[in-house]
């Protein structure tokens, strides 16, 4: 069964007809040619497909496209403005926070979403004082970024990049 949906992807309004079994990730990658979000596991276990969905980080392989009619999707490609990298992207470049690059767009969307969550005062598993705004130390960054696997093992550089971008 197909359904017509409209998405705003990286600022562009796109209307398309999708198989109702199609995930948001596959709609982006295979139907719309938006390949910045990556497919690493298709089970929400690796985070490579992370995008900002209506402003919040989400694994786009775990949601059907048809369930996201009228949604706003921002990928790592859309974070860069006028060819200028987003501060988080610049920090990943400066700290070599990646090697193969396949988890990277997801890491970056996840970091951008995560920094907003911290700004909004959301606690994490390692936040000790739930009454105070969380302080973004390395332990908080590591915990909050653990939904994004990196097999090249760039975590130490990813933490440095995010710490730098947060400053």
């Amino acid at each position: 069964m197909d359904a017509e949906i409209t998405l705003r992807v990286d600022g562009q309004r796109r209307t398309l007809s999708v198989d109702t079994r199609t995930t948001l990730l596959d709609a982006l990658r295979e139907r719309m040619g938006v390949t910045s979000p990556k497919k690493g596991c298709d089970h929400g276990q690796c985070g490579a497909c992370t995008v900002l969905l209506d402003g919040r980080r989400a694994t786009s392989c775990l949601t059907f496209a048809v369930a996201n009619d009228d949604s706003e999707v921002v990928t790592a490609e859309g974070l860069a403005e006028d060819e200028r990298p987003h501060p988080v992207q610049q920090a990943f470049l400066d700290n070599d926070g990646f090697q193969c690059g396949y988890c990277t767009p997801g890491q970056i969307c996840s970091a951008v979403g995560m920094l907003d969550e911290v700004k909004a005062g959301w606690p994490s598993h390692v936040t000790e004082d739930l009454d105070e705004p969380p302080e973004l130390d390395d332990e908080e960054i590591r915990e909050r970024m653990s939904g994004n696997l990196c097999r090249c093992g760039a975590y130490a550089n990813i933490v440095s990049a995010i710490r730098e971008a947060a400053e």
Binding site: D42, L93, C100, C103, G153
Partner: protein
Amino acid sequence: MTDVSNSGKLGEPLERLDGPAKVTGTARYAFEQPVDDPLYLHPLQADIARGRVVRIDTSPAEALSGVHTVLTHENAESLSSRVDVELAVLQSPEIGYRGQVIGAVVADTQEIAAHAAGLVEVTYERHPHDTVFRSDDEIVYTPDGSNPMIGEDLDRGDVDEALAAAEYAVDATYTTPAEYNNPMEPHATIAVWESAELTLYDSNQGSYTVRDMIAPTLGMDPQRVHVFAPHVGGGFGSKGVPHAHVMLAALAARKLEGRPVKCALSRRQMFSLVGYRPPTRQRVRLGADSAGRLTATEHSALEQTARVKEYAEQSASAARNMYVSANRRITNELAVLDVPVPTWMRAPGEAGGMYALETAMDEMALTCGVDPVEFRVRNEPERAPESGLPFSSRNLVSCLRQGAEMFGWNDRDPEPGVRRENGWLSGTGVAAATFPSFSIPGSKATIGYEPGGYYRVEIGAVDLGTGSRTALSQIAAEALEVPVEAVRLHLGSTEQPRASIAGGSSGTASWGSTIVQAAREFRAEHGAEPAEGAETTAEAAANPAAGEYAMNAYGAQFAEVAVNADSGEIRVPRMLGVFAAGRIVNARTARSQFLGGMTMGLSMALHEHGVLDGRFGHVVNHDLAGYHVAGNADVGSVEVSWLDEHDPHVNPMGIKGIGEIGIVGVAAAIGNAARHATGIRVRELPLTPEKFLI
């Protein structure tokens, strides 16, 4: 902020040239190459571990709208070569392991293909299978040699006599489990068949390797097979040779000529179709004299292999040359089972073998009452023990000494189990690392001078994320004596001159030597101010020093661990690796290579364990939820350092490979630190909590 230098001088931390494309996600990997009107292929896999397909009913699948074909052994074309059983897909109904490819659905969309795959009905004739790794005589044999061309077992002196006479002795058995490469980009290929030419957009570690293996299997002139791997999302060995899915896509594309066929394996399919590090069981016996000098070394390794195709991991090979020992016995055996085919995984042989040897070295140091750093220093050989050749350079002692200084090792209290704070026991450990400095001859590079004043450098190499695109540009710039901005490097396909595989940490050395040679010949032919259009293609000469020196990189791994006294949870707050790996081409990307290897080593030490169910022959935890690889919160401080090493013999640049040595020794350093923390010696990877609750 890290300093960014764009002078391109060798050693400087030039920013990754593909960095901007990677942080935006605009770097296109194999499955993302734009093709018109593609079809999608979904592999069908055997549900039994051994037997044969007696009936495969594809009609319900073929009846589904949008399905173009269902390939099976009944309708697949007969292949020209069946030498490689992984590539000789669908040639018979026989099943040699669970997960083996028995067919493929090709449809208009991924959703339809996956749906149709579930409609195919397979009837099997089941044969008894054997999938449990063990040392029983009936499944154990000695291979003719082991990866990558290591010869027969070694037996020098009289190990048994030396052990009997030794002042101190250690006899211990270590086990490592099946570990899965799991690059973040799943193995994927797009096959396009047009006018009797096959084009593959493929995720691999060498486009020429793929062409060389696929062309004869299909009975094709290799010139008619074009392979492109512009960006590769990691491989760690599993993309070293093409696997079954590449053949499936090629066969489907040939059958359905006109439409490209896309195939990306799922994470689960990867656990049976693209290889893994085989489980090992290793016995190490060491003897030492009263001065703490080794007199006997025995390393007997047993690894798993597949009945359908032999892979002989070389777990015991590092012990051939690591330390002094007048008496030495090295044996390697395989246990053959009805299991998926193992393959290379980052530092095959050394990663598992040095876990055993370096844990045994720690045990022996404690037995002798000598500090583990000092014990290794005392057993440093002057020449390579097996061949008697001098080392081209060997700076293990300096790595150990410098690491000990940086890590604060020298103030260490050797007493185990006494540092306890808030319920956590802490300790520190050390291990040595080594990896051979391989160079593969036969690569070619072309250099041309282009309008606009830049140098076009072409070589069919590949960048898996290692940074070779950037490092080779720096090497070309230095060899041509121009700024790196004046170099435009093209790699990643068979459209460029032939290049060797990205494997065995040989890439930068092999391809870099080729580029240096091409630059020299270009300058000799065209001078310092070449005319536009000037072009030279060259092949690097074989290294004249090969066979005259033993060539290896070395390193020292230090780890601090904390083990929870109540739960057994083990954490690694701090690691330090100090390496002696020749000249470093790019300080930024090299650091990431070492860091990545060490992080994967931590993952190997603490988490990774493919659990095979002997009743059914499948890996139970076959995804990234069940098979845990280190996540961000698992990793603490990781410090990387290296010596300024000048090796005049390895190659014209003086560089050694660095992609693998970072993982070597890490698991031993962590295990040794856990012993120091708790007093408990665990000899079985991974170091999971229950092993510390005794």
